[in-house]
């Protein structure tokens, strides 16, 4: 985290750096190469988390951006009535957090999508007057109708694409299941919007479907979370908007080059959350592919790359993968962001060298397993398989404890009674608050970094 005076002389485009952590040594016949790739963007001039972030730029000095706020206005938002009120207040807080000059719109979502502000298929430009008007318009929001999130996303896409801006972002709030369109409709909407804007998704209360909300965030490269108590919405919306205002550059792709004969086994983001990217590859010329990472402010993320190379003889060395960062541009060309990292393979008869596991690789392998066993454990619990659920969640407690993932360990302790964390011995709690179980499921993919 960074604090202090705004420095307007800084370039607004962050500098990217790539660091590779791996044990490059393989035994004779070894073929699998694992590496953790840390991508860090710095020096863009804003920050993601400090309160002052939106005010670092004077008008026109930040990157051009457009934000669409999608607020659930289905009938259930009136039960309890505080939910709708809290949603209005949270949306107002987010609007207050908009940087001057940023384009924005508010969408009311039911089984159809309605423009709440400014209307007419346009975006407003943030300023004192438009913020006031937008907040006036929020008073007219009322609950009534169903839920068809795909329609909200398609309207957001239409509005966001009407402005020629660098950053396009959505914030989506729902309190219920996506009942008034088919899962295929939502999937089609997500496919249509992917790569056009990024979107954070929030579920308020406990009547929504965790996989719908996390699915939206994954597809649109944003964050997902639960706001079980509507009173917490304003703070969460403010923080989400600050992060959005901290973004400097959009549509960054992780480009992976691998030599002939090499198979990419997987590519996943492993920090700050686990996101599987393997199947989201776009071919980018001979032996190279791009994996989307969305937009970046001053931040650092880790990726786990695993490739299988053709084995070579002792003493041989090869480049197993080259990692770089690019921004695809219209017409098929790309802007290369300069930084690159090399993933190497070196065959040795030194057993001590080839059998050691890189600490970063070991750590994130554990974090990915942690996310997986939580999901499996909760699924088994819902299906009534007590023994299976106990085994998986016990393993989760063990992994969370060993890796220092204290937040996840705390969430697990609300679902199971921990007998011995070191061995993963747990008992399922007889009674679990629905909010606790949903919080654990929503946040299961959150990881911690290796302790330095």
């Amino acid at each position: 985290m960074r604090s202090g005076m705004a420095n307007f002389s800084k370039s607004n485009v962050p500098q990217f750096s790539v660091d590779v952590y791996q044990n490059e040594y393989l035994p004779e016949g070894g073929a699998e190469v694992n590496a953790i790739v840390t991508v860090t963007a710095t020096g863009g001039g804003t920050i993601g988390s400090a309160v002052a972030a939106p005010h670092l730029y004077s008008p026109g000095q930040g990157p051009s951006a457009a934000v669409a706020l999608m607020v659930d206005c289905s009938g259930s938002m009136d039960y309890p009535p505080t939910k709708m009120r809290n949603a209005r207040d949270a949306t107002a807080a987010a609007i207050d957090t908009l940087r001057d000059g940023v384009h924005f719109a508010v969408i009311g979502g039911t089984h159809v999508a309605k423009e709440v502000y400014p209307g007419g298929g346009r975006l407003a430009v943030a300023g004192a007057a438009t913020r006031d008007q937008a907040k006036q318009a929020l008073r007219k929001l009322s609950a009534g109708g169903g839920t068809a999130i795909g329609t909200w996303l398609r309207l957001a896409d239409r509005l966001l694409s009407s402005a020629d801006v660098a950053i396009r972002h959505g914030i989506l709030l729902t309190d219920g299941r996506n009942e008034h369109e088919s899962p295929e409709d939502l999937k089609a909407a997500l496919d249509a919007c992917a790569g056009r804007f990024t979107c954070d998704a929030r579920g308020v209360g406990t009547d929504w479907e965790v996989r719908e909300v996390t699915g939206i965030a994954s597809a649109l490269l944003g964050s997902a979370d639960i706001v079980a108590d509507p009173a917490g919405l304003a703070a969460d919306f403010t923080q989400m908007m600050e992060t959005a205002m901290g973004k400097e550059v959009a549509d960054v792709a992780l480009r992976l080059w691998t030599p002939v004969g090499t198979t990419v086994k997987f590519v996943k983001q492993v920090a700050p959350t686990v996101e599987e990217l393997t199947d989201r590859r776009t071919e980018a010329g001979p032996r190279a592919g791009d994996y989307p990472t969305g937009s970046w402010g001053d931040e650092s993320r880790d990726y786990h790359v695993c490739v299988e190379v053709p084995p070579a003889g002792i003493g041989q060395e090869m480049l197993a993968a080259r990692v770089s960062l690019v921004i695809p541009e219209p017409g098929g060309s790309v802007q290369n962001l300069g930084a690159q990292g090399l993933v190497r393979a070196v065959w040795t008869d030194d057993m001590a060298a080839s059998t050691s596991i890189n600490p970063q690789v070991a750590h994130y392998t554990g974090q990915a397993e942690l996310a997986q066993v939580i999901q499996q454990g909760l699924d088994l619990r819902k299906a009534g398989d007590i023994d299976g659920a106990t085994a998986k969640l016990g393993r989760a407690v063990q992994l969370a404890g060993a890796s220092g993932n204290a937040d996840t360990a705390k969430l697990l302790a609300k679902v199971v009674d921990v007998v011995d964390a070191a061995t993963g011995t747990v008992r399922l709690k007889a009674k679990v608050e629905e909010a606790d179980e949903m919080t654990l499921e929503t946040r299961s993919t959150k990881t911690v970094r290796v302790k330095k």
Binding site: Y21, P259, V260, G261, R287, G315, M318, L319, V346, K452
Partner: protein
């Protein structure tokens, strides 16, 4: 870190101070296992390096080493001594190990009493190796360089790569182009690097270094050169270094050390510095160069916070018309091979290794010591982690022509004894040093090439200027 057995180990038990007999494996009083190398009793800082060290008692104008007789007008070198008749000395002027029988003859640096903490000399077995350093004077008179001589010292050129590095097609798949990082853009294979195979010839001396067959990079380095002494005769210089693989950047360490030592020698010799003193100073300079590498950028340290400081061994030789000086730290070696093969060859260095220390201290037989898995652990090296810098130097006056082989363990692992090494050295080595160095590297590769191999070959006596290739 440095765990050298001391002479005290054979005189007193390191645990209970009970007097011991040579050959004891365990202390008779307390049962202490004497095969476990005792740690040094107290810390000792790395040697302070503050200039050249003329031997006490030497004339103030410096040059007081036996002047090598100049070549006669016929070009035939003056008669020389048999090296095995002439013991070398270490930096303290003390006798060298068994291979050199003790007939001290004009030691260039007079012996000095050992440092106070060391055991009495009477307890030291005759065959032991001396590890004590002589006392360092508080101030060293600095000798003004002679501008006529310092003006044009031969500077060691960096070794030329054997093959041009700008070949564009991959050597592995013969299909891809090679990218800027040295990898094939088709199959990804690393391309041969400059240091994979290096050869250099400088006047009468030549050296060859090779990655070997089992390691992915060459962590050895060398520097060779030649210069003129104040009397106009020639001196040839070779330095060979072996990076310590368990430390970070061993290849950088060996390169820095070999360059620093080579440059130091070629600058000091024309000024009239005694070659043995110059060798000592060169090792100190090399040590400083390696120590400086430990001050690496912070980012590199963050990536590998627990790795050791860069480190390497060093071995070197200076050959003049009448004198042969060797110097070393670690387990790289110098061998003497007479042209007349009926005369015995000799190894001129004593490894800073666990096995050598065990044997020298009389704690184990050679067979026992070298069978131990700790045998090849080195007990002396250059680098910021080194417990204490102990440069060993020795001076010889061979009485007949021969060649000096300066090498890393990548070679001597395949020709350990002096006789085996002599067997591997071609008979025309003195006339064709580069060819001989190639043959010796080939010997190691034929044997398995399990390590990086580096060897320098210097003919003795150094041929006069104009003789041989320039």
């Amino acid at each position: 870190m440095s765990q050298m057995p001391q002479q005290a180990a054979v005189s007193k038990c390191p645990s209970c101070e009970e007097p011991l007999e040579s050959g004891d494996r365990f202390c008779g009083a307390c049962g202490y296992d004497l095969s476990a190398v005792p740690a040094r009793p107290q810390d000792s800082p790395t040697l302070a390096m503050n200039g050249s060290v003329p031997a006490p008692g030497s004339p103030p104008d410096g040059v007081d080493w036996p002047v090598a007789p100049g070549a006669e007008s016929s070009g035939r070198p003056a008669p020389v001594h048999l090296p095995t008749d002439l013991p070398g000395t270490d930096s303290g002027g003390s006798a060298l190990p068994p291979e050199a029988p003790h007939v001290p003859q004009q030691p260039p640096l007079p012996p000095e009493p050992p440092l106070p903490p060391q055991p009495p000399a009477a307890d030291v077995p005759a065959a032991g190796v001396r590890f004590d350093r002589r006392q360092e004077p508080d101030e060293y008179p600095l000798q003004a360089p002679d501008p006529r001589l310092a003006a044009d010292p031969a500077v060691p050129a960096p070794p030329a790569p054997a093959a041009a590095a700008d070949g564009k097609v991959c050597v592995a798949c013969r299909a891809g182009r090679v990218d800027d990082d040295g990898y094939c853009e088709n199959c990804g294979h690393a391309q041969p690097r400059e240091r994979d195979h290096m050869e250099q010839e400088s006047g009468p001396v030549a050296a060859v270094s090779d990655r070997g067959l089992r390691h992915h990079r060459n962590e050895d380095a060398f520097s060779v050169g030649h210069t003129a002494l104040p009397d106009g005769t020639r001196a040839a210089v070779a330095i060979v270094c072996d990076g310590v693989s368990s430390a970070t950047r061993p290849d950088d360490a060996s390169l820095a050390a070999s360059r620093a030592a080579g440059e130091c020698l070629l600058a000091a010799l024309p000024r009239g510095t005694h070659p043995q003193q110059a060798m000592h100073d060169a090792i100190v300079a090399a040590s400083q160069a390696v120590n400086a590498l430990a001050e690496e950028p912070a980012t590199a340290r963050e990536h590998a916070p627990h790795q050791n400081a860069p480190a390497c061994t060093l071995v070197g030789a200076v050959v003049t018309a009448g004198l042969l000086v060797v110097g070393w730290v670690g387990d790289s070696r110098v061998y003497w091979v007479p042209v007349d093969r009926s005369a015995p060859p000799a190894r001129l260095t004593e490894d800073d290794s666990w096995a050598a220390q065990m044997v020298a201290a009389g704690l184990m037989s050679e067979a026992e010591a070298y069978a131990d898995e700790r045998a090849h652990a080195i007990t002396g090296w250059l680098g910021a982690d080194a417990y204490e810098l102990e440069p060993h130097t020795a001076s010889f006056k061979p009485d007949r022509p021969g060649v000096v082989v300066v090498c890393t363990d990548g070679l001597w692992n395949y020709a350990e004894s002096a006789e085996e090494m002599a067997e591997a050295v071609p008979h025309d080595a003195a006339a064709r040093p580069l060819h001989s160095a190639r043959v010796l590297v080939g010997h190691a590769l034929d044997g398995g090439g399990h390590d990086n191999v580096t060897v320098a070959v210097l003919p003795f006596p150094a041929p006069p200027q104009g003789a041989g290739s320039a």
